[in-house]
Amino acid sequence: MSAQSSPAAEVFAALGDPTRLALVQRLSAGGPASITRLSDGAGVTRQAVTRHLEVLEAAGLVRGLRQGRERVWQLERDGFTVAQAFLEHVSRGWDEALERLRHFVEDEPGEGGSWA
């Protein structure tokens, strides 16, 4: 996680997909699971599930551990929850809004600006 330039950005980019979000929710609720179990009822192919898991892995959200013939996937972050991801998402919105506020109050030509 420390190696990533912007964990929050990667987290919600990775979670901005229904299949990946469902995978995270499943791992969050049910604990570590094999690709077979995760593909079951996912509505997409096993290959697609693997690719989605790899995207989540690149964002530091899950980790695949080889066990026998297949990998078992688990959440990478202790206590990672949808609640945290949501909060990071909303925080990001505030960061952007406050930067716009900064430009708005600091950049205007004089008292009153264009709204006078």
């Binding site: 609640a83 505030w94 506020l101």
Partner: protein, 156 residues
């Protein structure tokens, strides 16, 4: 362990406190930096404020909040439904979050502190749904990162 109930932000603005106050509590001013079309006029306690978002991809969404407290040039707060961007979802039944702005005069300008709290009471399913909608949500700029992640994905 991250606190999941509140967000806190602090920013130093190189502008007089009166200027920042106006940007926060006058409808058109608030709208121009926040990205929502609001009518002119100062926010009053108890007022229900609403208008369409102006940011790309979210212009079908009406933003609403109810003003709570207004203490001139020092404190302003409102309640709303955070990230309420699904036009087909009824947010009214859900608890709101409280957004508080505190202003202090400091050397060189104004310190603004923003706290949004009450997230723990928002249903988990709703949070998940908001994340799903992320791709066409605030984060148009996130598309770049998404593309980057997709590139990683296709490289396998």
């Amino acid at each position: 362990m991250m606190n999941t109930d509140r967000i806190e932000r602090e920013i130093l603005l190189r502008a007089p406190r009166s200027r920042v106050w106006r940007a926060l509590t006058e409808g058109q001013e608030f709208g121009s930096w926040f990205g929502v079309k609001l009518g002119a006029g100062d926010f009053q306690p108890g007022a229900r404020v609403s208008g369409p978002l102006t940011c790309k991809g979210l212009d079908h969404v009406t933003m609403k909040f109810t003003v709570e407290q207004v203490e001139p040039e020092s404190f302003f707060s409102y309640r709303w439904h955070p990230y309420a961007v699904d036009p087909d979802y009824d947010y009214e039944q859900e608890p709101t979050t409280l957004v508080e702005f505190r202003l202090d005069e400091v050397d060189g300008g104004t310190r603004l502190r923003v706290v949004e709290s009450g997230f723990d009471l928002i249903p988990e399913a709703r949070k998940a749904k908001a994340l799903e909608m992320n791709s066409n949500g605030w984060a148009i700029q996130m598309e770049n990162i998404e593309r980057h992640v997709s590139a990683v994905e296709s490289r396998g």
